[in-house]
């Protein structure tokens, strides 16, 4: 079953299909759910979308999402402004926050990925270098994912920051908490073994 794209329902389905993780079937389901939903509920959703686009922008310092000039982490003087955690995307900031981390962030908005055509100039890398050059930063923690592309980005940043004498560290790789050794895949176990620490 398909709907003509100029039809209002068809238009909605087309728009929904562009969202990440939404296939044609899910798009239809959501569209018909909204069609049946009470007017205020559908409008609340539409407003939330408009609002987020109008009010949310990127922090001028760390490029995390914010409503003001600067994000709340960059403005918070009780946080350690000399400790910068570099992440791939804003969602990762929320993950690191859950650990009780008290430094600040830098969001790259992606990782180096030649296959997808993402090079250094597509990332917020020049801005990171500029931040470090201005001084006041002691340590940069590379918290990109432990994927090939995340590693590539971490190594690239380390090289970029070499001239400034700042300490660049990398998240450890190893066993997930609560894991059962017998059920772990070999790659994870091998890395944990390589990265073992003195007790």
């Amino acid at each position: 079953m398909s709907f003509p794209a100029q039809d209002p329902v068809g238009r909605l389905i087309e728009q929904l299909r562009r969202l990440p993780g939404i296939g044609p079937r899910s798009a239809q389901r959501i569209a018909f759910h909204l069609l049946r939903a009470p007017q205020p509920e559908a409008e609340a959703l539409a407003e939330a979308i408009v609002e987020v686009k109008r009010r949310v922008r990127l922090c001028g310092v760390c490029f995390h999402i914010t409503e003001g000039e600067r994000c709340r982490f960059c403005l918070d003087e009780s946080r350690d402004q000399g400790l910068v955690c570099v992440v791939e995307q804003p969602l990762d900031v929320f993950a690191i926050e859950r650990t009780g981390y008290r430094g600040v962030y830098h969001v790259l908005h992606g990782v180096l990925n030649p296959l997808e055509g993402v090079g250094p100039e597509q990332l917020r890398l020049a801005e990171l270098v500029e931040r470090v050059r201005r001084g006041g930063i002691r340590e940069v923690i590379m918290a990109t994912n432990p994927s090939l592309e995340g590693e590539a980005t971490a190594m690239y940043v380390r090289r970029l920051l070499e001239p400034f004498g700042v300490q660049v560290t990398r998240l450890a790789r190893g066993l997930p908490a609560g894991a059962d050794l017998d059920y772990l895949d070999d790659a994870t176990l091998t890395r944990a073994l390589e990265g073992r620490q003195a007790l």
């Binding site: 296939g23 079937r25 180096l112 990925n113 030649p114 296959l115 055509g117 090079g119 250094p120 090939l148 592309e149 590693e151 590539a152 190594m155 690239y156 090289r159 017998d182 059920y183 895949d185 070999d186 790659a187 091998t190």
Partner: protein, 389 residues
């Protein structure tokens, strides 16, 4: 090691098969296209988690169920090993019906779900086929695959390096194309060079070592199997852009360093061509019979003996590396040998715990029939035992 139980469900042309197998030689007799090769393919798949001939997983699922709500093939075997007994289960989902499921393979080792790559080599096997002549006379790809399938059964680090290498190579090639087109700068290559050299060096070291180990076995069996005690020589030809002629690296770090230097040497050429020109994806090994290249100068019989010697050497290599016998699979290869060579092969294979042989022509291999501890007949996807003649 040996397989004592094997079950197939909806695999290729088998709807349902349950077999009990013994040590020694099991013979499967059947006309062409009845399912003999499919049986050996199933066992080899349990060993390598890769089909020896299918292009996609969907090809492995029996046609009648491919369009059903459960388009799944199941393979299961129980194996007695010196390293402890093994129950291996592989489910192959040929097609996704429900979008929440993925097509692909699910693997359990002794009941525990595993990544397919972690289950490779749990069951060790060597497969002889009539296409093996390609290792001697065919494209370099076939020789690389021969080494890769053999080494990855016993070396986890090698298998991981191969997987990582494939991804790094893809990324690096597209970066080279971007640099060629002026969309990226050559300094971005540094990380990818390091990574490529690292996993590539591990692969090259593994291949050099494995070849050194199989050479004496291959030479010995070539002498025994050929008519005039012909000499077989195998020489590794790593793709190092000219640096391979320098003395051979000895350990893994040296191979990695050598490949990194090769990458730096050919950088301009790689940028011009927009592709990686050195590294194990371009490797080869030379096969020579009595000092002449086997592909151009070897007779068909010589090439066949050389291919057979390489497979026997593979079985010996696995035995040495594992401290246990691999299961030996012969897909219709005995009927193309004369009685003397066949006896030679069988004498070697008698030293292995289990050999599984298929033939379309039992009258040509009566000597095999009399040696067999288990005899089966394969007709249209069903297998039954038979006794006597």
């Amino acid at each position: 090691m040996y397989i004592y139980r094997l079950s197939l469900r909806n695999f290729r042309n088998y709807a349902s098969v349950d077999l009990e197998l013994d040590r020694g030689l099991s013979l499967f007799v059947g006309e062409n296209a009845q399912g003999k090769s499919n049986l050996l393919e199933a066992i080899y798949l349990l060993s390598t988690l890769r089909s020896s001939r299918a292009a996609s997983d969907a090809d492995l699922v029996r046609r009648d169920v491919l369009e059903s709500p459960f388009p799944v093939a199941r393979l299961e075997c129980e194996v007695e090993r010196s390293a402890g007994n093994l129950r291996l289960e592989v489910a192959i989902v040929g097609r996704t019906v429900d979008p929440s499921h993925r097509a692909g393979k699910r693997v359990r080792v002794n009941g525990i779900p595993r990544k397919a790559s972690d289950a490779v080599g749990q069951l060790a096997a060597v497969l002889f086929t009539t296409l093996d002549i390609g290792i001697v006379a065919g494209a370099p790809l076939l020789r690389r695959r021969y080494l890769d399938m053999m080494i990855s059964q016993v070396d986890r680090g090698y298998l991981r390096a191969m997987q990582r290498y494939a991804r790094v190579l893809q990324q690096r090639n597209s970066l080279l194309k971007r640099i060629q087109g002026g969309q990226a700068s050559a300094t971005e290559l540094n990380f990818w060079d390091q990574e490529l050299a690292h996993s590539g060096g591990i692969i090259m070291f593994g291949r050099a070592q494995a070849l050194a180990q199989i050479i004496p076995h291959a030479k010995l069996h070539m002498e025994r199997l050929s008519d005039d005690q012909e000499r077989l020589d195998l020489t590794y030809r790593p793709a190092l852009g000219g640096l391979e002629d320098v003395d051979c690296p000895l350990d893994e770090p040296e191979w990695i360093a050598r490949l990194l230097r090769a990458l730096q040497r050919v950088r301009q050429r790689e940028i011009q061509q927009g592709t990686t020109v050195v590294g194990p994806h371009r490797d080869d090994f030379a096969v020579e019979i009595d000092g002449m290249p086997a592909d151009a100068f070897g007779s068909r019989a010589q090439q066949r003996s050389a291919a057979l010697s390489l497979r026997i050497a593979e079985a010996m290599y696995l035995r040495q590396a594992l401290g246990d016998d691999p299961v030996v699979l012969l897909d219709d290869v005995l009927s193309e040998l004369d009685a003397r060579r066949r006896r030679g092969v069988l004498e070697i294979l008698d030293t292995f715990q289990q050999t599984i042989v298929t033939t379309a022509d039992p009258d040509r291999v009566r000597d095999v029939l009399t040696r067999a501890s288990g005899r089966f007949v394969v007709i249209a996807g069903t297998i039954s035992r038979f006794e006597g003649e």
